[in-house]
Every structure is written in structure tokens, then in C-alpha cells.
């Protein structure tokens, strides 16, 4: 298992290197003068020159690149122009909000997605199956921000059950966090739950057709035991790999959800940075979030190897 972990970490290195290069290149893609784009039309030539020096844009590209990597190695990702603080510090402040929301959404995704998929597979072609797959289809077709808006109108405005926005940190008030995060988490989770239900169903159907399931039933084991011990355990293995993808999708989707429910997470930070042309923040934040996701995916792969001996010996 340690070998798998080391192997995956090593193969992630070139990917992370290219990710960092792309993040670096992003600001240089701005047509014309990046400093002018950042400072806006009202900036004086002196302000522009100062900004160029601050951002290192007055240096040759190669020097800029070297300085960028020098900073990265020391954990210095530059300073946010908007917030006036380090990109790393700003990210670390906001990331827990996004992680909390994503984890909550992940729990909902797993509960709904697995349950719907398993029940649908066990009752293949029944009304329950069709209803579950219809639900999954709606789940993958409703834009999360539209679902969020409808939920705000129904549960926030008309019924008044849940707050329509705002954020309460978990450490301050766990119940408050739960109530302020429930609508965002559900609107974020539905798409992934739909995807997961579809995958779980087909994985489960695949397993139920196997010979060992027939053997287990033929030797007289109760259906319950066949499903729980023989079918489910094997059907869930390929699903573990999907969890890594789901986390990536959740963090990506959180951008929209945070904007909609005004949650102070990473997505909101980066959207604000983009709208205010805070490019160092965009560049550094993008790099940090992506690195985090690459790490999550490595963790999932290692977990997968731990669960499935076939992968370990490959």
C-alpha cells in the first residue's frame, strides 16, 4: 500500500508542475498590459509603474518564472491585491468553509446516491427502479444554482424553515452551521447524487449477474445476506474511485453555491478575486485548490488499493 502511495505521489509531481506552470501563465495571457488591466483606466502612469514592480512584471519572463518557483518552494504565493494579505493565509482562512460544505454535500451524495442506486438495481425494471432513475436524471439536469434559488424561495422565503444565506462557523455553533449549510449542501449534492445513483445501479447489476452470487443463492443463503455480504461489498469497490471525482466536482460546484448563499468559502474568494482583477489571488488560489484536489485523489487511490487486493498486486 505504501508502494501505491509513493507511486501515485511521484506520478502526481509532473502534473502539479504543469498545473503550477498553467497558473503562472494565466496572468501573462491577459491581452495587453496586465498592470493596466488590474489597475483600471483611472490609474496614473506612476501607479502603473509601481504595480509592475510590485508584481514583478518589469522583469524578464524567465526571471519572473524563477521568482515564482522560488516563492512556491518557500510557501510564498504572493499577496492578494484586494485583501492586502498573503494568498496562502487568505486561502487557509476560506478553505475550511469549502471543505465543510463539500463534506456535508458528500455525505448527502453518498446517502442518496448509494441508496437510490442499490434499491434500483435490486428492483430492476420495477416502478421503484424507474422512479429512482428518473430522480437521478432530474438530479443531473437541474443546474445547482437554479435548484438553490428555488429552495431559497420555497424553504427560506415562503416556509421560513432555513436561513436564505449567511454563514455560521461550525466551531461557534454546530447546529447553526447545520442549518445555514443544509440548503447549500443539498443543492450542491443533487447533481453528484444523480451521477452516483446511476453508477451504483450499473455496478450493482453487473455484480448481481456474477456466478458467485448465483452460487450463494443456490446454496440457500438468505437474500439479505447475499446482497449485503456478497454483492454490496464487491459493487462498492469501483465506486470508491468515483468518490475522488465527486469531491473534485463538489469543490468545483461549491464556487456557485457559495456565491448563491453568500458563504465565505474558497469559491466566493476566487469569484471576488476574478471580478476585482486580483490576479495574484486567482493564480495562487487556483494552484492551492487544485493541489488539494490532486492530494484527495491520491488518498482515494490508496484507499482503493487497500480495499481491492487486485490493484495492490498489479
Amino acid at each position: 500500500m505504501i508502494r501505491v502511495a509513493i507511486g501515485r505521489l511521484l506520478s502526481a509531481l509532473p502534473v502539479l508542475l504543469i498545473v503550477s506552470l498553467i497558473s503562472f501563465g494565466l496572468m501573462r495571457l491577459i491581452p495587453g498590459d496586465p498592470a493596466a488591466a488590474i489597475a483600471g483606466i483611472s490609474a496614473t502612469p506612476a501607479q502603473l509603474a509601481q504595480l509592475r514592480v510590485d508584481l514583478g512584471l518589469d522583469q524578464p519572463l524567465l526571471v519572473q518564472l524563477l521568482r515564482y518557483y522560488e516563492g512556491l518552494v518557500q510557501g510564498d504565493l504572493g499577496r492578494s491585491l484586494l485583501l492586502g494579505k498573503g494568498v496562502f493565509a487568505a486561502t487557509m482562512e476560506r478553505l475550511p468553509v469549502t471543505i465543510g460544505l463539500s463534506l456535508y454535500a458528500l455525505v448527502i451524495t453518498l446517502l442518496i446516491g448509494l441508496a437510490a442506486g442499490i434499491i434500483a438495481a435490486l428492483r430492476q425494471n420495477s416502478i421503484v427502479d424507474q422512479a429512482a432513475m428518473m430522480f437521478a436524471m432530474i438530479g443531473i439536469s437541474v443546474p445547482s444554482f437554479f435548484l438553490g434559488l428555488v429552495m431559497i424561495i420555497v424553504f427560506g422565503v415562503h416556509l421560513g424553515w432555513l436561513p436564505t444565506g449567511g454563514y455560521i462557523p461550525f466551531s461557534q455553533d454546530p447546529l447553526g452551521w447545520l442549518s445555514s449549510s443544509t440548503m447549500p449542501a443539498i443543492s450542491l449534492a443533487l447533481l453528484q447524487a444523480g451521477l452516483l445513483a446511476r453508477i451504483t445501479r450499473s455496478s450493482m447489476l453487473e455484480v448481481l449477474r456474477q456466478d458467485y452470487i448465483r452460487t450463494a443463492r443456490a446454496k440457500g443463503l438468505p437474500m439479505r445476506q447475499v446482497i449485503l455480504k456478497h454483492a454490496l461489498a464487491n459493487a462498492l469497490i469501483p465506486i470508491v474511485t468515483v468518490v475522488g471525482i465527486i469531491v473534485t466536482l463538489l469543490v468545483s460546484g461549491a464556487v456557485v453555491t457559495e456565491a448563491l448563499f453568500s458563504l465565505p468559502g474558497m469559491g466566493q474568494l476566487l469569484t471576488q478575486a476574478v471580478l476585482n482583477r486580483d490576479y495574484p489571488m486567482v493564480q495562487g488560489g487556483l494552484l492551492l485548490v487544485t493541489t488539494f484536489l490532486v492530494m484527495v485523489n491520491i488518498l482515494v487511490d490508496v484507499l482503493y488499493a487497500a480495499l481491492d487486493p487486485r490493484v495492490r498486486y498489479e
Binding site: 498553467i22 443531473i140 443546474p143 487544485t290
Partner: protein, 293 residues
């Protein structure tokens, strides 16, 4: 006794494309998806003829009218006709979706085929691919549009950059399998050049999974475009896109919920239609991957 000709026993020759089409049109999901998507596509195409008010014409006298006989979909906070705005928004969604699909079909195929066929290119191309796929899709799209500047064209470019690596990966995995097939080896042995082998022997057989991918991609592109303009980094307001209409309607959703509901439902119908269409295409063209069994 009548003579039986050899042709009487020959299997009926049906053109493969026609057989596939026949199976598609007997597939319930595909037909439902095609119908849903078709309605939106036709409305989008007919936009100039079925709307009589300019989608950007302000009319403060008529603001916040709920759907009624004169204003089918009602009006927004500036008294603009939501029917006009939604219909023109459909057209823009279709143009953006189709453009992203076209970009993917061309560049996804080129990159995927190059990586899958030429082993020397594979490692380099796929590492860049992996890196681009490691970014959260929406964040990368937001970053690219912000750098290039918000406009319809830049949204298309950004979504192209985000999704081409995913298409390339799918093409590559088909090409890798096909490259080792005996009929391809036979073509190599017969002295066929790389280009001829790729064009005549490999790519035609790699089309099925790609077509399936492109139909889902159309859905993602429409959805992502709406998301970008909802966040304020897509096509510049007052351009009538579904995302823009919903973003503007957000402040009035308590008193004028139709402003967000109508484009939202249109978006949902489009995406669901494309997803159903994709499911149907996959079941018929690429049965190994089918979900509905």
C-alpha cells in the same frame, strides 16, 4: 419447381448507418431526449421570427408584469419581454454549446489521436491533459474568461480549454485499443502511412464513444455557460443569456419569481434532453458502457 436464385438466400443488406438510425429511433430515451432538445433548438433557430419585441428594449411602464395574455412569459425589472429574452437566450446557448462541441470534436480528436497513436507524444500530451483536468472545471473556466475578458467568444474558448482534455482522453483510449487490432497491423504491413491508417482504419472506429461524449458535452457547455453568466463572468449584460436573466432576477425572486423560473426551466429541459439523448446514443452506439441495462 421454380429455380431459387442465390440472391434469395443472401442476407438482406441494410446499410449499417440506417440500421443504427433505426435502433436509435426505437430507443425510448433517445426519442424523448431528441424531442425535448429539438423543441428548444427549433425555438432558438426561429428566434427572429417568433419574437416581436427586441430582447433589450426597456419599457419601465411594463416592468414586473407576471405572465399574461400580452406578455407570455411576463416582463423583468426593466420591463423587457421575458419571452424575447428567453428565446434569444436559447439561441445563444445553442450557439455556445455547438461551438464548444465543434472545438472539442476537432481538437479533442487531434490531441487524443496523436497521443494514442504516437507513443512518443503520449506521455507529454497526457501529462498536460491531466494537469488541465486537475483544475476544478468551473474555476478554470472563470479564471480563463476573467483573463481573456468577458465575452461570448471568450466563454467558448474557456469552455473549450476546460473540456477538450476530457474529450482527448476518451479518443485516446479508443485509439490505443484500435492501434493494436489485427486489421490495423495488416494495414501497417501493407505499407499504409500513418495518416491513412488513422483516417481510414482507426478514427472511424473511435467515433462511437466520441459522439456519445459530445452529446453530454453539449449539456455541460450549456450548463457551464449559464453558470458563468450567472456569476457575472460570462457574456456581458444586457446580452440575453439564461444565466444573465437569472442573475438579474435574483434580487426580485420574492415578488417576481417567474424571472428566474422561466429561464431555469428552459435550461433544465435543454440539459435533460441532451442527457437523455446521450444515454440513448450510448446504449445504441457503445453498448459496453450502457447504464440502463
Amino acid at each position: 419447381m421454380s429455380e431459387l436464385a442465390a440472391e434469395d438466400f443472401a442476407p438482406q443488406r441494410v446499410h449499417p448507418a440506417r440500421a443504427t438510425l433505426k435502433r436509435l429511433f426505437h430507443h425510448r430515451l433517445f426519442v424523448t431526449g431528441l424531442a425535448l432538445f429539438g423543441v428548444i433548438a427549433i425555438i432558438a433557430a426561429l428566434a427572429p421570427w417568433i419574437t416581436d419585441v427586441d430582447p433589450n428594449r426597456l419599457s419601465m411602464r411594463n416592468k414586473f408584469l407576471s405572465p399574461n395574455g400580452d406578455w407570455v412569459f411576463g416582463t423583468d425589472n426593466f420591463g423587457r419581454s421575458l419571452w424575447s429574452r428567453t428565446v434569444w437566450g436559447a439561441q445563444l446557448s445553442m450557439i455556445i454549446g455547438a461551438s464548444v462541441v465543434a472545438l472539442n470534436a476537432v481538437f479533442g480528436t487531434l490531441i487524443g489521436a496523436a497521443a494514442g497513436y504516437f507513443r512518443r507524444l503520449d506521455n507529454m500530451l497526457m501529462r498536460v491533459n491531466d494537469a488541465l483536468m486537475a483544475f476544478p472545471a468551473i474555476l478554470l473556466a472563470i479564471a480563463v474568461t476573467s483573463v481573456l475578458g468577458p465575452s461570448t467568444l471568450n466563454v467558448i474558448l474557456a469552455l473549450g480549454i476546460v473540456y477538450i482534455p476530457r474529450t482527448a482522453r476518451i479518443v485516446r483510449s479508443s485509439v490505443i485499443v484500435l492501434r493494436e487490432m489485427e486489421y490495423v497491423q495488416a494495414a501497417v504491413a501493407a505499407g499504409a502511412g500513418h495518416w491513412r491508417i488513422l483516417r481510414h482504419h482507426i478514427l472511424p472506429n473511435a467515433m462511437a464513444p466520441m459522439i456519445v461524449q459530445l452529446s453530454f458535452l453539449f449539456a455541460y457547455a450549456v450548463l457551464s455557460e449559464a453558470t458563468l453568466s450567472f456569476l457575472g463572468v460570462g457574456a456581458v449584460p444586457p446580452t440575453p443569456t439564461w444565466g444573465n436573466i437569472m442573475a438579474e432576477g435574483r434580487d426580485y425572486m420574492r415578488d417576481a419569481p417567474w424571472i428566474i423560473t422561466i429561464p431555469g426551466i428552459a435550461l433544465m429541459i435543454t440539459v435533460m434532453g441532451l442527457n437523455l439523448l446521450g444515454d440513448g446514443l450510448r446504449d445504441v452506439l457503445d453498448p459496453r458502457l450502457r447504464i440502463q441495462q
